[in-house]
């Protein structure tokens, strides 16, 4: 089955979509596609068939999102915890992923036509080498596309992602690119796998579970969470509409909370800069009192320097990540 579904919405769906679009729409929706195995059990199918149907539903959901003008979707495909499942099932899932990413490469032209950019978030090193290479190929091929974005979380947990971000920052410190005092909430966000995406506006979990299961914990702290009881392979356009409506109902309050948070963050950054300047002056000022104007100048100077340092580090990190994929990709070609 293909990744890209063509075809329009039917009349009723189209009208409903237009009504919803009159309100604020989420720009980024995240899905925990739960319930494939329960669906298979319910329908007396093989487990693998349930996972298959789950993938098909994803392709369909992407089509709905396109019609609803939702440019970015993130899905939880495989958690690091899922490696604990039986070898049989893990192997099956890896095989499915391999097939699907191969299929994706075959659909290159279509992906270009719709401008679909695929990103894979997670620690690829945990995956079999051939799968790593195919994923890298898919990522590198679609890297320049910029109309819609699909982020696939594979070998991912949020705690691992946050830890990895801390590790990257520590790497920057080791390299002498940044100081430990430069570590901030904004910088940590830039070091996450998801650094290229805005935070999701809406997170949907199916199959009636009401927890996040280590998915995008950092990114969804001000997102609308919608838990729906339908199993993922049975997900319908109307379920999606209901979730969007929930988002629209919470939109104003969440926006307010976000603004509050952003204000607070700016304040903290200002305080941290001030403290750093203060410390610096105490070390180099020979105890002489400093007038307000000089202090202000010093602070502006410090802020500019810090921003430059941090930007330089972020560029280096991006380069490191990009070349990880490019190297994997070229090793696949030469092999």
């Amino acid at each position: 089955m293909s990744w890209i579904r063509e075809g329009e919405l039917n009349l009723l769906e189209k009208i409903s979509a237009n009504i919803l679009k009159a309100g604020p729409m989420p720009k980024h929706v995240a899905f925990i596609m739960d319930g494939n195995r329960r669906f298979a059990r319910k329908k007396n199918m093989e487990r693998q068939e349930g996972h298959m149907q789950g993938f098909n539903k994803l392709a369909e959901t992407l089509r709905w999102c396109k019609h609803l003008n939702i440019p970015e979707v993130t899905v939880y495909a495989f958690s690091i915890e899922n490696f604990k499942r039986t070898k049989d099932e893990v192997d099956g899932l890896m095989e499915l992923a391999k097939q699907k990413f191969e299929r994706l490469l075959e659909e290159r032209d279509n992906l270009e036509k719709y401008g679909v950019c695929i990103r894979v978030l997670g620690d690829l090193n945990m995956l079999p080498h051939d799968l790593q290479q195919i994923i890298a190929k898919a990522v590198v091929t679609t890297r320049a596309h910029n109309k819609c974005f699909l982020n696939v979380c594979f070998a991912y947990t949020s705690r691992y992602e946050i830890t990895n971000a801390v590790r990257e920052m520590a790497w920057g410190v080791e390299q002498g690119r940044i100081n430990a005092s430069d570590v901030s909430e904004a910088l940590l966000s830039e070091c996450l796998y998801s650094n290229n995406s805005p935070n999701p506006d809406l997170l949907i979990r199916t199959s009636g579970e009401v927890r996040l299961s280590d998915f995008l914990l950092w990114q969804t702290s001000h997102s609308c969470l919608v838990f729906q009881s339908v199993l993922w392979p049975e997900y319908s356009f109307w379920n999606l509409c209901e979730a969007i409506l929930q988002y629209q109902l919470s939109h104003k309050s969440i926006q307010k909370a976000r603004d509050l948070h952003r204000e607070h963050q700016t304040q903290l950054q200002l305080e941290s800069d001030r403290a750093c300047v203060e410390e610096h002056m105490q070390h180099h000022g020979n105890g002489k009192p400093v007038d307000t104007q000089r202090r202000q100048e010093a602070q502006l100077h410090y802020t500019a320097c810090r921003e430059e340092r941090v930007q330089d580090f972020i560029d280096a990190l991006k380069h490191k990540r990009d070349s990880f994929f490019t190297d994997l990709c070229s090793s696949a070609i030469s092999a």
């Binding site: 590790r167 920052m169 430990a180 570590v183 969470l225 948070h261 903290l268």
Partner: protein, 291 residues
């Protein structure tokens, strides 16, 4: 056309709001109706007793009202306390740590204090209270006073064995208001969320800066250890969210990995039955932990 769709969208929102209001009104109505029914049933049961010459209520009113009222309240409190405790035991599982997330403007201290006391009475060891404006953090003394008061009202003087250890990070990190064993009430604000992760990250980066550690050594468990209190407090297994907003609003992102979220429309005038209903729902859910 766009105008029409806009109008229709507004209409849709109004309909949803009306629907919500109707449901919550119905809930209150059913509750009060049930209450009245219960009262009437009790009255009907007690009537023959009263006629038979054991007018407990009357006696209380006629002779020596003070002493009797006192013992009656004490009895009532004792029976209530044992009922709550056995309620907690009757559940298949009970969270060790519960989070109360208030996503409403203008929190009501009395209702939150009631919730905290009920949670402790059914046997939950750690209760965290959170709001994204940091209101409870700012007024934590007021909340504490309210909790102590409700504790005495609901559990009586003997309820003081449920002493509260009141933790509240931030400026007064090492100042515990009442120190005893358990249960522990924690007042959380957004600073305990992402900001505490950033602080832990900074600490690790500093140790790398001082060449005490290599960046490669940093692991999930290391970060987790830093983000825990010195005392062992487990991650909250259950967060009850009050209010119409469907969001965690910055509630401890690191700690809610496996937390179950259950929503109630409001924390105002909340009853013990509402809380117990939530605990029952939590009691039956299963976690597969990736398997």
């Amino acid at each position: 056309m766009a105008l029409l769709y806009g109008l229709l969208w507004r209409l849709l929102l109004v309909l949803v709001h009306v629907n919500r209001a109707l449901i919550s009104w119905l809930r209150v109505w059913v509750k009060s109706w049930k209450g009245r029914l219960w009262e009437r049933a009790m009255a009907a049961l007690l009537l023959p007793l009263a006629l038979a010459g054991f007018p407990d209520h009357q006696r209380k009113l006629n002779h020596n009202p003070d002493a009797n009222a006192n013992s009656a309240t004490r009895n009532r409190i004792a029976s209530r306390r044992s009922r709550w405790l056995s309620d907690g035991r009757s559940l298949e599982k009970l969270p060790v740590h519960i989070g109360l997330l208030v996503a409403e403007e203008e929190p009501s201290y009395t209702d939150i204090a009631n919730l905290v006391v009920w949670c402790m009475a059914v046997g939950i060891s750690y209760v965290s209270v959170y709001d994204n404006h940091g209101i409870f953090r700012k007024n934590n003394i007021r909340l504490l006073e309210e909790i102590v008061k409700q504790q005495q009202d609901l559990l009586g003087v003997e309820g003081s064995k449920y002493n509260v250890e009141f933790l509240s990070n931030g400026s007064d990190k090492h100042q515990h208001h009442v120190v005893s064993c358990r249960p522990i009430v924690k007042v959380l604000s957004p600073e305990d969320g992402k900001q505490s992760i950033v602080q832990a990250a900074q600490q690790l980066c500093r140790s790398v800066e001082n060449k005490e550690r290599s960046s490669k050594d940093i692991s999930v468990s290391m970060l987790d250890a830093l983000l825990r209190e010195s005392k062992y407090i487990p991650d909250p297994e259950l967060v009850v969210k009050f209010g119409p907003v469907n969001s965690t609003l910055g509630f401890l992102p690191w700690h809610i990995r496996l937390t179950e979220f259950i929503s109630l429309p409001s924390h105002r005038d909340i009853s013990y039955e509402d809380l117990f209903g939530i605990l029952q729902r939590y009691g039956v859910c299963q976690q597969r932990l990736g398997q």
